[in-house]
């Protein structure tokens, strides 16, 4: 929806496009204007949202103990690339035990993964036979261990995950016949030759321009990875949607940098040599992963960093690699941040004023105008269902002001100030629930202009009816 027109820019200053959109306004916009894709996205996303329950305390405990495996088949994920599914916070600190458990299991099964599973991990490129073998192995391990232990739980999860993966490979071979390519979990659809986009497109693999007329190009329907037809075979980046669907959690340490030497002076993604001596291939640091990338894998895109928001209330956009950007874009609307747990101080002192009023507002909307407001809220279903989970987008919105699209403008004074029912010094009309400044209201004989207007219209209509 946004931020996909920034190319591999040489300097940070030239990256013009802002990746942050103002939230609720956009929702409304999508819903009312969207045709085709947008609406479909919203629809599919909401389906997921509506079916995902509020997380209560009990289930919180259980969820916390088990790694968030979300059964996602390609069908699911195809429908809802931006779907939200509130899974509990899985920051490294809180479930280290389970994480260790899972890592141990991965080891036993011969599978390893890190945050953006690197290409050398064969988990994703596994053939059906290997998957089947892993499933059998997993089943054996389950039988060997005792009931109701963390290990068993993690194993069952792994099993479900593997089975879904297997189904995915099955499906992949089926869909492949329709011209869609599958590489590294991407679903690459051929782009039609006359590209309708006005902005230039760059190849995510070789970082060169895709000339719509000359080049055959593909785009991943899940994460918008796009590349030349000739680059398809060399794709090294795994589809961001896999990570998002299977384990939606952020790196919540601020820029966990390890240093270029720890990476052997190689790009974290494509393993090309990067040194400070070579001006053509300078190392670029990704603020999200803390790793260094080559200019082809890091286009100086800018994103808001979840870790910085949570710990420092810092909304400045930082430079991130392409893979981090694709991941963050998909994660943006997911309520995966358990604020109270991650940063209770923030919740107490800063957010209490900002968020609670917003929530209260949304809450009143729900009871007052169930039918209409709820629909506009659909992308934020988690708001009305549970009090602690936030998506990064929510935090961004709080910072940039509550959704302005749903505010009111006092009809009595001509000020352009946007007011909300929860603001101080306002009154809410009991008849039509419009919001007016308290001062304006009392000074104009306590009459609501909107009610009066509606009354007049009703009269007009009734006389019209009488005439006809």
């Amino acid at each position: 929806m946004c931020g996909d027109n920034d190319g591999p820019t040489p300097s940070p200053a030239t990256t013009t496009h802002s990746a942050v959109t103002t939230g609720m306004g956009e929702v409304v916009h999508n819903v009312s204007y969207g045709v085709g894709d947008t609406v479909h996205n919203v629809t599919a996303g909401v389906k997921r949202l509506l079916t995902s329950p509020p997380v209560n305390c009990d289930s919180m405990v259980t969820e916390e103990e088990c790694p968030g495996v979300l059964p996602a088949t390609p069908r699911n994920s195809m429908l809802s690339p931006v779907a939200d599914n509130p899974s509990c916070d899985q920051s490294p600190g809180t479930d280290s035990e389970t994480a260790e458990e899972e890592a141990a299991i991965n080891d036993e099964l011969g599978l390893t993964e890190d945050h953006f599973s690197q290409p050398e991990d064969n988990f994703l490129c596994m053939s059906e036979e290997t998957l089947e073998r892993s499933i059998e192995k997993c089943k054996l391990l389950i039988l060997q261990c005792e009931e109701s232990t963390t290990r068993r739980r993690a194993l069952v999860h792994k099993l479900i995950q593997l089975r879904l993966r297997l189904q995915e490979t099955h499906d992949a071979s089926q869909i492949a016949s329709t011209g869609v390519l599958f590489r590294m979990s991407h679903q690459l659809q051929p782009q039609k030759p006359p590209l309708t986009r006005t902005s230039k497109q760059y190849c995510d693999k070789c970082a060169q321009i895709i000339w719509g007329v000359i080049h055959i190009s593909y785009i991943c329907v899940l994460c918008e990875y796009r590349c030349h037809g000739r680059c398809v075979e060399n794709i090294q980046r795994r589809c961001a949607s896999v990570r998002v669907n299977e384990d939606s959690c952020y790196i919540l340490r601020i820029c966990p940098e390890v240093g270029l030497s720890a990476q052997n002076y190689k790009c974290a993604e494509c393993k090309i040599l990067i040194t400070n001596k070579n001006a053509w291939c300078e190392p670029r640091r990704c603020d999200y992963t803390g790793l260094h990338y080559c200019p082809a894998c890091h286009w100086n895109s800018r994103m808001v960093m979840p870790a910085r928001v949570i710990h420092n209330w810092d909304f400045e956009e930082r430079l991130v690699s392409r893979q981090a950007k694709q991941f963050l874009l998909l994660m943006k609307n997911r309520p995966v941040l358990h604020m109270e747990k991650l940063n209770p101080h923030l919740f107490k002192f800063k957010l209490r004023e900002d968020l609670l009023v917003m929530k209260q507002y949304l809450g009143t909307c729900r009871t007052a105008q169930e039918s209409r407001m709820l629909r506009q809220l659909e992308e934020r279903q988690h708001f009305v269902e549970n009090a602690f989970m936030f998506s990064l987008q929510d935090l961004v919105d709080v910072n940039s002001g509550v959704c302005q699209g749903k505010g009111y403008i006092c009809e009595l004074c001509d000020g352009s100030e946007i007011i909300f029912p929860f603001d101080g010094g306002v009154v809410v009309c009991t008849g039509c629930s419009t919001v007016l400044h308290h001062l304006c209201y009392t000074s104009r004989s306590s009459k609501c202009p909107r009610c009066a207007r509606q009354e007049a219209r009703r009269k007009q209509e009734s006389t019209d009816n009488l005439c006809t």
Binding site: S32, K47, L50, T51, T62, C66, V156
Partner: protein
């Protein structure tokens, strides 16, 4: 993206171990039955495409291990389910009694939007056996008390009622799915063209 709209229904089969969950699923999907008992480990699923009122839907039927307690499958497993099938064995009163706890646990774990109207289907399996212990009436009463849950008596071995039961499951799951979609319709549209004008002009007074 939008053009390829496939409907995927997630169906979860629950019930005590040995009531025939795997057999029912196998009978429906593969039309096969085996007398040999083999406990399911963890969870497994099969998919089948079915036609429901001239709509092609893919059913993803999750078979769970009866011994596996709920927590081990985790919230994520239950989430997004479109229908829940509760199975019991008509020759085992205990498996019938535990329907209550399976249902409650499911509702806790999946916490669907509208728990009272979430589509459940109850299957009383093994009606081909002679030593029946749970009467039809008793089962129907239970289903009645749980907000008119559809009830079927099946036999995975003889393939009695299996097709019918899964058709109902698919239909109910689809209904649940489309109900969810209702929320996604456009909000009230404001039409900018004014139809009233013509009306007013036509007014003869």
């Amino acid at each position: 993206m939008a053009s390829r709209k496939k409907i995927l229904l997630k169906v979860i089969i629950l019930g005590d171990s040995g009531v025939g969950k795997t057999s029912l699923m196998n009978q429906f999907v593969n039309k096969k039955f085996s007398n040999q008992y083999k406990a399911t480990i963890g969870a497994d699923f099969l998919t089948k495409e079915v036609m429901v009122d001239d709509r092609l839907v893919t059913m993803q039927i999750w078979d769970t291990a009866g011994q596996e307690r709920f927590q081990s499958l985790g919230v994520a497993f239950y989430r997004g389910a479109d229908c829940c099938v509760l199975c019991y064995d008509v020759t085992s009163p205990n498996s019938f009694k535990s329907l209550d706890s399976w249902r409650d646990e499911f509702l806790i774990q999946a916490s669907p939007r509208d728990p009272d109207h979430f589509p459940f289907v109850v299957l009383g399996n093994k009606i081909d056996l002679e030593n029946r212990a749970v009467s039809t009436k008793r089962a129907q009463q239970w289903c009645h008390s749980k907000n008119e849950v559809p009830y079927f008596e099946t036999s995975a071995k003889e393939a009695i009622n299996v097709e019918l039961a899964f058709q109902t499951i698919a239909r109910n799951a689809l209904a649940q799915e489309s109900e969810v979609e209702l929320y996604n319709e456009f909000p009230d549209q404001i039409k900018l063209t004014n139809d009233n004008k013509a009306k007013q002009d036509a007014c003869s007074c």
